[in-house]
């Protein structure tokens, strides 16, 4: 074998507060063939998942707003006013969508520089009635609309605390996306999710499972629009010949290939890319926490977000934003590069032996940042263990109903199942060898 190319330079480590390096599997991809598994395991794997409304890129759906009077979804803006009108019962109410009001959905292809939405000050904030508190139980920061309540329960550790533990801050977002999924629905989805994962779940988790304790939480995000250009360069190989040498069991297949230097350039815009703007929630290290669960239920139909009003937070808890635009820029650039790499895949499909990208570059022409509170139903279970144990979340997207969770595993049961199946397979292997 000869290869004229020198080995690729070691990739530079991405040092920004990054997203997980692993591209998530396609929906429904289990990594194991259920047909080969025992009946009880197969039943669990094949049971239906909680249904989520598809708000993926191609069809971010509008018009899911329910009429508060009759619940119908046939709701339209009344021309010339800031009112919404229900086509079923003619009820009218206020619903100012920031998308239209501030033109957040327009001019993507002319974005220049960094445009940051004015935040609450310029959008009639209810800042005076908002107070942020530091939870003495776990240190989380929780926002309370003091017009409605003077005490609150921490949604992370369920600690109850009062107004006297205030920390001096009041970050109010530009917009809020109200809950659509009701509590009963969220409970049903969490129950359905857990029912699919009971056989090997931790005994204590099953004993203490009370989905009625689910909390309605508004989590802080930055919704980013961007216009960027990306370049990638690397080597691609096209197979020119395939032949076998040797015979019988020593037969081996060899390949010849042409090596190409490949360069690609793509200009693109992204619309409403959500980034966690809480430092803690943005840490997606799956070994240390289960924040990736909350990350997975993205995206939201952020096109339907309404102008900030603290009344939307009545009865819910929320978490304060503690990252600003510059903190989030490395993560945004990482995601834009990933998107660019996904965009160029089709253009290199002729390289049937794959492409090794060796260099990539990104030129961000313009970005627009909007702070938003997004609705999440959150159920948590604390598993005791080393270093304070692990907090497992089950999260339901408050708009689409997409459900994801981390269920603690009873290790000895899982090991027993794996060893039993392994022993069974080994038995077959030995039987085949012995019978030859």
């Amino acid at each position: 074998m000869s290869n004229a190319q020198s080995p690729p330079p070691p990739p530079s480590k991405f040092t920004g507060p990054g997203s997980p390096q692993e591209v998530p599997p396609a929906p429904g991809d289990l990594g194991v063939d259920p047909a080969a598994l025992p009946q009880p395991l197969r039943d669990e794997l094949l049971a239906p998942d909680p249904v989520a409304i598809d708000t993926s890129a191609s069809e971010l759906k509008d018009g899911l707003n329910h009429c508060p009077k009759c619940g119908a979804t046939d709701v339209r803006p009344k021309p010339g006013t800031d009112l919404l009108v229900c086509a079923f019962c003619r009820n009218e109410w206020h619903g100012e969508r920031v998308e239209e009001q501030f033109g957040f959905g327009q001019g993507l292809d002319q974005l220049e520089g960094t445009v940051v939405a004015s935040g609450a000050r310029d959008i009639e904030a209810d800042a005076a009635s908002l107070r942020s508190f530091k939870c003495t139980g776990c240190g989380a920061e929780v926002t309370v609309n003091t017009a409605n309540a003077m005490t609150a329960r921490c949604h992370w550790c369920r600690h109850v605390f009062g107004v006297n533990e205030q920390v001096p801050n009041g970050a109010v977002p530009d917009a809020v996306l109200p809950f659509h999924i009701k509590k009963d629905d969220a409970i049903a989805r969490i129950r359905q999710f857990v029912d699919k994962r009971k056989l090997l779940a931790l005994k204590e988790f099953k004993a203490q499972f009370t989905p009625e304790n689910v909390s309605a939480v508004y989590l802080p995000y930055m919704i980013v629009d961007g216009r960027a250009s990306a370049d990638v360069a690397g080597k691609g190989e096209i197979e020119t010949r395939r032949y076998t040498q040797g015979s019988g069991k020593n037969q081996k297949t060899y390949y010849d290939a042409d090596v190409y230097q490949v360069e690609r350039h793509v200009d693109f815009t992204v619309d409403d890319l959500p980034l966690e703007s809480s430092r803690e929630r943005g840490n997606l290290d799956a070994k240390a926490n289960t924040n990736n669960i909350i990350n997975t239920i993205l995206p939201f139909d952020t096109k339907n977000a309404v102008k900030w009003n603290a009344s939307y937070l009545a009865g819910c808890s929320s978490e304060k934003r503690d990252l600003d635009v510059e903190h989030l820029r490395p993560r945004l650039e990482g995601q834009l590069l990933s998107i660019a790499r996904a965009q160029v895949v089709e253009s290199v499909s002729r390289y049937d032996r794959g492409v090794r990208w060796e260099q990539e570059g990104l030129d961000v022409h313009g970005t627009r940042w909007v702070a938003m509170y997004l609705p999440v139903w959150l159920y948590s279970y604390h598993q005791p263990g080393k270093n304070g144990g692990l907090l497992h979340y089950i999260a339901v997207n408050g708009r689409t109903g997409e459900t994801m969770g981390s269920i603690p595993v009873q290790q000895w049961k899982l090991l027993l199942v794996a060893l039993t199946v392994g022993t069974f397979l080994e038995g077959i292997a030995i039987w085949i060898l012995a019978s030859q």
């Binding site: 074998m1 004229a4 990739p11 530079s12 997203s19 390096q21 591209v23 599997p25 990594g31 194991v32 191609s58 993507l108 292809d109 090997l200 020119t240 069991k249 060899y254 390949y255 010849d256 290939a257 042409d258 090596v259 230097q261 490949v262 360069e263 350039h265 793509v266 200009d267 693109f268 992204v270 619309d271 289960t290 997975t296 993205l298 995206p299 995601q335 990933s338 998107i339 790499r341 996904a342 253009s347 290199v348 390289y351 794959g354 492409v355 090794r356 990208w357 060796e358 990539e360 570059g361 981390s406 603690p408 899982l414 794996a418 199946v421 392994g422 397979l425 080994e426 292997a429 060898l433």
Partner: protein
Amino acid sequence: MSDDGGLSLLLLGPAGATGLYWALYRYYRNTDKSHAYERETTVDAKPVTGSEHKVGEVKGTQQTRISGDNVHDYRERVARMGPD
């Protein structure tokens, strides 16, 4: 059967046990999941442009893919080009 074939058949048990362990672990814990922004974000891309030219040949390799193939590992960052 050759020794190679016998050995690889004997590995079936340990490999199957390990594979099933991780598959079930991930099914319960979902540690591999995250927001699939590459396919779930509205991206409006202009047609991809670029160039390619042949720089060499590989003869008689047994590898089925180019070494270091990362065409589908979108999130694996490689060396950054300097600003033009």
